[in-house]
């Protein structure tokens, strides 16, 4: 394809060239990182009882919205997923599907001892470690962690995004240099729900 027709030809090629110009020559990287850092909207996915402390974090006393984090509705419009506590075998499918539906660049915080190594339920047959399901950036110990710990995690994540340029590198290379992408060992959604047999 000659040089001249590249803008008219394939849409993907043109988009890539536009991206290289935007990110390469014009210093938009800092703007992209700053924008992603100050508008981390957590998706509304409550996995278990740490959601009480997550709700307190966005209450009036430890106002999460002062960092620009606004718990929003759908996975499509948000870029942060907070694993609040235990992820059971059934919930792992919901976590994985929600993570897949979120657009890049996206980040994950594992909150609570249950999300790190199973906490009190370390040897339960129905509990899965979240870092086997999705790649996680920040871990918060505690059961449940204090709202300041969650606020500290958001602040640390903001500093990590801006210092290590995570958001713009995601857009430029399409993957995360600092976190190898975790492919699910086993498909957590293999089970099929049996619908209630009561006919109408």
């Amino acid at each position: 394809m000659e040089e001249g027709r590249v803008y008219l030809g394939n849409l993907d090629v043109a988009a890539k060239r536009a991206r290289d110009i935007l990110l390469g020559k014009i210093k938009l990287e800092k703007v992209v990182d700053w924008a992603n850092a100050f508008s981390l909207w957590p998706v509304h996915l409550t996995t278990s009882c740490c959601s009480t402390e997550f709700a307190a974090t966005f209450g009036p006393r430890f106002d999460g919205e002062q960092f620009g984090a606004l718990p929003w509705v759908g996975p499509r419009q948000t870029n942060l997923i907070v694993i609040e506590g235990t992820v059971t075998r059934k919930m792992a499918c919901a976590v994985r599907v929600t993570w897949e539906q979120m657009p890049h660049p996206k980040f994950a915080i594992a909150m609570g001892a249950c999300a790190l190594d199973g906490g009190l339920f370390y040897n339960s047959y129905n509990v899965v470690r979240p870092w086997e399901v999705i790649p996680i950036d920040i871990y918060i110990p505690g059961c449940p962690p204090r709202p300041e710990s969650v606020a500290r995690a958001i602040v640390e994540l903001q500093r990590r995004i801006r210092s290590r340029r995570v958001a713009s590198s995601w857009i430029r290379e399409g993957w995360r240099p600092d976190r190898d992408y975790v492919a699910p060992k086993e498909d957590y959604c293999s089970w099929q729900r049996t619908s209630s047999p009561v006919p109408l």
Partner: protein
Amino acid sequence: MAVHEALAAIIGWPPIWQVLIIGFIGSLVVSIFAVWFERKAAARVQRRLGPYWASPRLGGLLHLIADLARYAFQYPIIPRRVDVVPFLAAPIAGLIIALLPLAVIPFTSNPSYWPLPPAAMEYSLLIALAIATLPPIFIIAAGWASNNPFAVIGGVREAFIIVAYELIAILGFLGAAAAVGSFNLVEIVAAQEGFKWLILLNPIAFLAVFIAIVMSTSAFPFEIPESEAEVVAGPFTEYSGILYALNMGGAYMRRFVLAILTVLAFLGGWQPLTPGEGLLWGYILPSIVVVAKAVVIVLAISFLRAVYGRYRLDQALDMAWKILLPLALAGIALGLIEASIGVV
């Protein structure tokens, strides 16, 4: 000098000034300010801080710029099962159509800067109202194209809401036109000379129009199409990235455009300032006065988010048909009585 005149001619040309500068750039700025005010006012009522850390001195205004930039640089997902053409066209067309009523609204009494020929100006209120009813169709198209049950339910709810508020908005504005006796917005504004604003003379019609605007752009008590608790994000569930920003921005821009229409009909448009000759005095300053009053109305609507919950769909429709319709008709009756007495 030629460049100066050319520039003044371009800016002075009503469609450029009204649709592009006030319409696109102006409503973008007003929308960002309205969203910031909405989050900050809700935060104050809720005894908390609201967006703060992006720009501590500015009270967190830059958070809105950060949200917009994040949506702009996010990877837009177009799901496989989606009908791509209407999926992409709906938000963009919805935004453009939302700005079109500005093309027919006069911002000054100086005839040289009227957007329509004087003959057509006689029906400027009707034309503006007609165009203002188009945008919801694109929201329904967005819901239908994204092929998601929640989106379809959201889109159908938007259709229900249009049927309810359309009639009340039109009757409310007719109440104002009845009081003055003509559909020409310039005459309506002229008739409200010396603070005889129609909001004071015909408050019933203003209340009907105000509630109709709150319903049409799904502001808080009537946030039913995008209500989080039932349909995840209504018609915009499948949108991500810049497409979602266009959709959400479209709602706020429609609120700004309808607010401008209300200002002209009820709050005496460019009233305290009598537009003189030339570009500055004849066109730019009156439109700034109109925009300022429109911003006040938009902020008032944003404040409702802090104090109200969400009506059920059938309750909203009942309220529209059983309470607001008689209210709007009473507004027209009051307008006719005032016209016959000659108050205006």
